[in-house]
């Protein structure tokens, strides 16, 4: 048995002092997992709130965005010997109770990555964006942008690598790298809360959405021909 067989929870946070403490507290109370909050240069009291609730805080000195923060957490987890990592948003839309739904596919080794999917949360515009990305990537997933995920050791190692350091969001680009490395991605249905406070970091304004769509499209098109098919089930 490995020393750290229990999972570690990673929460990227930017100005989430209102909600981060409650999330950390719930995870600690429900699952007793170590919780790491990656503070992406918040200007409010996110870091003290997280610490007070019992989290380990990794304070970034330069704002790296959601993915840069999660990668920090993954690198931390690997350094400290953890073999399973769960990522949640700090705004309270992912329910700590649902963590249990993400773990069985990893435990039985039927998947390397489990995405907590709640497609019903999506607005029409977001649905449109998803189906567009499904079209151009060939990914067979419902909820491409969900940040509620569980990664096993193989997936953590791939995503902590330098190759994944120039990504900006934990979504399509990350899934493409995982697929290219032949890792198995499945979805688990979960329920999610409407965002308690604050809005999505991506779906914020038309300008940001446009930039995001263009960047992600380019990322997909640049990868055409790299292992476009899902890996065979028997490998």
């Amino acid at each position: 048995m490995l020393a750290f067989d229990r999972p570690i929870a990673l929460i990227p946070a930017y100005n989430e002092e209102a909600t981060v403490g409650a999330i950390v507290g719930q995870i600690r109370a429900l699952w007793n997992y170590p919780v790491v909050v990656i503070d992406d240069c918040s200007t409010d009291r996110t870091a003290p709130a997280a610490r007070a609730a019992g989290a380990i805080v990794l304070p970034l000195t330069i704002q790296l965005g959601a993915w840069g923060a999660i990668q920090t957490g993954l690198r931390y987890a690997l350094r400290h010997g953890y073999r399973t990592a769960i990522t949640l948003d700090a705004d309270g839309q992912h329910e700590p109770e649902s963590i249990g739904a993400l773990l069985p596919p990893l435990a039985t080794d039927t998947a390397d990555v489990v995405i907590g999917a709640f497609p019903e949360r999506a607005s029409r515009a977001r649905r449109l964006a998803w189906s567009y990305f499904r079209q151009i990537t060939g990914l067979q997933l419902e909820d491409i942008t969900s940040g509620f995920r569980a990664y096993n050791h193989a997936a953590m190692a791939v995503l902590a690598s330098r190759e994944a350091s120039l990504l900006d969001y934990q979504d399509v680009g990350v899934l493409l790298i995982l697929r290219r490395k032949g890792l198995r991605i499945v979805e688990a249905p979960v329920s999610m809360q409407p965002r308690a406070l604050g809005a999505s970091r991506v779906f914020r304004s038309w300008w940001v959405v446009g930039k995001y769509m263009l960047q992600t499209s380019l990322l997909c098109l640049a990868r055409v021909g790299f292992n476009h098919l899902p890996p065979a089930p028997d490998d």
């Binding site: 990656i38 503070d39 240069c41 870091a47 003290p48 610490r51 380990i56 805080v57 990794l58 304070p59 970034l60 000195t61 330069i62 790296l64 840069g68 990668q71 920090t72 690198r75 931390y76 350094r79 330098r162 350091s165 120039l166």
Partner: protein, 122 residues
């Protein structure tokens, strides 16, 4: 009467001297210094012998020699800008990983739990 050769010599020398000065003062890091010394030499050479382009253009079948200079200069600029963005991307990756490592180290510092948030001014 100033001839056009004198003008081009002056421009070439001024440009080359500026670059050499910057390299001497260590304002340009290794590989960039080599590129720019090459540029300085080229500019100086063409400043002294602006007719070089007339000869070259004639050999390449270009009827209006100045356009050859412009096209070549423009291409070199494009190459330079492209390599600059490649370098910037490489540095962005390094900076991100460095910031991540710093965050991991900071979390391990004794007293991290009760110290004030680090100074974000830098």
């Amino acid at each position: 009467m100033i001839t056009y050769q004198l003008t081009s010599m002056a421009i070439g020398l001024f440009f080359a001297a500026t670059i050499l000065l910057l390299v001497r003062r260590d304002h340009l890091h290794g590989p960039y210094a080599i590129w720019w010394i090459g540029a300085a030499a080229t500019v100086a050479l063409l400043g002294f012998f602006p007719r070089l382009f007339d000869v070259l253009a004639a050999k390449l079948g270009i009827s209006y020699p100045p356009i050859l200079a412009i096209v070549l200069g423009f291409s070199m600029l494009l190459v330079k800008i492209l390599t600059m963005d490649l370098e910037r991307s490489r540095q962005e990756r390094l900076i991100r990983r460095l910031a991540q490592r710093l965050a991991m180290l900071e979390a391990q510092l004794p007293g991290a739990a009760d110290s004030a948030p680090p100074d974000r001014a830098d």
